[in-house]
Symmetry: C2
C-alpha cells in the first residue's frame, strides 16, 4: 500500500511546480504523507517537508530555513502545547538526513508569515540540505527540535563551479583575518553506498562515530577529486573512514600498498569486503603523490 | 641579528605595494630572506614566498597558484637537477603552514611566464592559504614538492559575508546532485593558541593526528559561531579536539558538565590545563541545545 520513499529529484517535478493540495503530491512519492508535514522516518531519513506556517517558531528566509521538528503542536491554535522529542521518528529522520548529507525537498504552502509562500496551494521550493540541528525553548515555553536548512537547488552543473566557490569561500573567510581549514566532504550517491556497505565503520580502525541517530562516517577519495589530481567519484576510488583517518589519508600521513597494507604512520591491513574492489592505480597515485615508493 | 618571523599582514604594507628589490622587504620582516624565495622553517611555518619564475613547474593562475618547493634547482638554467625533499626546512615549513591554516604572503617578481607579474621589481599579491600538497615528477624528470595556494585577500569583512558564501558553496556543490557535508574549521589566532597550549593533543582522547610535520588538531567551539547560536571566538569557548571528537561535539553525541565530566556517548573527564578557563555558560548552552539537562 505505501509508496516507496524517493530522495532528491523526482522525474517530471521541477522547482516552482504548483500543487493544488497535498493529495496531488502523493502518487509520485513526492510527499507521501497526508497527516504530517515531514515525509520520512528514523531508518530511511527524510525525503520531503512541507512549510506552511503550522509551527509558530519556523523561520522562512528563502534560501535559509529554520525549521521546527514534529510533535507537541496543537493543530487548531498552532501553538506548542508540549515538549518535542528527538526520538520522534520524524525528528530522528531529519537528523539522519543531516548526518548523511541527504537532500530534502522543501514544499511551501500558503502562510501569511512567509513572503516566499504561494498565494494558495503549494509550490516546490527545490532541494535543501540540513546543516545544523539543536533544541531550544520555543515561544510557547516548550522544548522544540530545530534544524537549519540551506537551499541547494535542483539543477546539475560542473565541478569547476564548485572549485570556483571553494576559492571564494576561502577568500571571504580569511578576510576575517583568520586562517581557515576547509573540509568539504562530498557525499555523493556512490560515497553513501560505500559507507552503507561498511555500516559506517572506519576501514582503518573500525570505529564508528556515534550520533543521536546511528553512526557518522566519511567517504574518502583515494585519488583526490578536482584539479590537479582528477580522481573519479567511483567506488573503486573510495574508502569509508572516520574523520581522523580521513584527515590522515588526505595529508598522506599513511598510504596503502597493492596488497592493502598500511605504510607510513600506520601498520596493519585495510579492512575491505569482497564486493568492494579498489583500483590499484588509485593506490599507486596516492603512494606516489605522498612519497611512498 | 635575524629579524622575528611575522605572519599575516604587516602594518603599512598593503596588497599591491611595489618593491624595487628583495632588500627593501627585509627590514620589516615582510620577507627576511635574501637567498631563498621561501621565508620560514619547519618549526614556525612559512610567512612569505616569492614567485618569480625561478621554478619551471610553478603555475600562476592569479587567485590560484601551484607552487614548487625549494631545492634541486639550478639557479642558472632554472631547471631541476635533482630531487626535492619534504624534510627540506622550507618545504616542511610550507606543510606546517598548511596544517595550521597559517596565511602566507605572496610576492610576485617579474617573469615573462605570468601575466600577473609586475613589469619590473616585485609586488605584494596579498595573503594566500595553502590548501593541498603532494609530490610529483617535474618537467626535468626529478621529484618536486607541490603546493596549491588560494588567494584569501587582506581586508577584513563581516561574518555575514562568510555565511553568504557558505550558502552559495552548498548550493553549487549540490547542484552536482550530491549531498554535501561541509565542515569549515576556522583557525583563528585564538584557536591556534589553544591548540598550541595542548600541543595538538585532543582534550577528549589525547590522540594527536600525525602528519609529515607535527600533529593536526582542530579548534572546536563549544557554543557554535554564527547564527543562530552566536558563540564567541574566544579561548573560554574553545577546545582542542581531534576531528572525530570535534564531529561528536558539534553533533551533540556528548556534552560536558560544569565539573568537566562527559555526558552522553562518552564517560570520563575533559582534560584541561590550569591556565585554560572555560566559560560555564558556554557548556550550559551546549548541554541545553543538545538535550542534556
Amino acid at each position: 500500500m505505501s509508496r516507496p520513499i524517493i530522495f532528491g529529484e523526482i522525474e517530471g517535478i521541477s522547482e516552482g511546480k504548483w500543487f493544488e493540495g497535498r493529495k496531488e503530491m502523493m502518487p509520485t512519492s513526492f510527499h507521501r504523507q497526508w497527516g504530517s508535514g515531514i515525509d520520512g522516518n528514523t531508518k530511511d531519513g527524510v525525503s520531503a517537508i512541507v512549510l506552511s506556517g503550522g509551527y509558530e517558531d519556523d523561520e522562512d528566509n528563502g534560501e535559509e530555513i529554520i525549521y521546527t521538528g514534529a510533535g507537541g503542536n496543537d493543530p487548531k491554535s498552532r501553538k506548542q502545547i508540549e515538549d518535542q522529542s528527538w526520538t520522534n521518528r520524524r525528528n530522528a529522520g531529519l537528523l539522519k538526513s543531516q548526518n548523511e548529507g541527504i537532500p530534502v525537498r522543501v514544499i511551501r504552502g500558503y502562510t501569511h508569515k512567509s513572503p516566499f509562500s504561494p498565494k494558495s496551494g503549494y509550490t516546490y521550493a527545490g532541494l535543501y540540505s540540513i546543516i545544523d540541528s539543536w533544541e531550544e525553548i520555543g515561544r510557547s515555553g516548550f522544548k522544540i527540535c530545530r534544524y537549519r536548512l540551506l537551499y541547494i537547488g535542483n539543477n546539475s552543473t560542473k565541478q569547476e563551479r564548485a572549485e570556483e566557490i571553494e576559492l571564494k569561500l576561502s577568500t571571504a573567510e580569511s578576510k576575517r583575518k583568520e586562517g581557515v581549514i576547509l573540509r568539504i566532504i562530498r557525499d555523493s550517491k556512490v560515497a553513501h553506498d560505500i559507507k552503507k556497505l561498511y555500516q559506517f565503520k572506519c576501514q582503518v580502525c573500525q570505529f564508528e562515530v556515534p550520533t543521536k541517530v546511528g553512526s557518522y562516517a566519511e567517504g574518502a577519495h583515494i585519488r583526490p577529486l578536482g584539479k590537479p589530481h582528477n580522481g573519479h567519484d567511483s567506488s573503486d576510488n573510495l574508502l569509508c573512514l572516520c574523520p581522523n583517518h580521513h584527515v590522515m589519508l588526505d595529508k598522506g600521513s599513511f598510504s596503502i600498498t597493492d596488497d592493502l597494507k598500511f605504510v607510513g604512520a600506520l601498520s596493519g591491513d585495510l579492512f575491505t569486503l569482497a564486493n568492494h574492489k579498489i583500483n590499484l592505480e588509485n593506490l599507486k597515485y596516492h603512494r606516489e603523490s605522498h612519497g611512498y615508493n
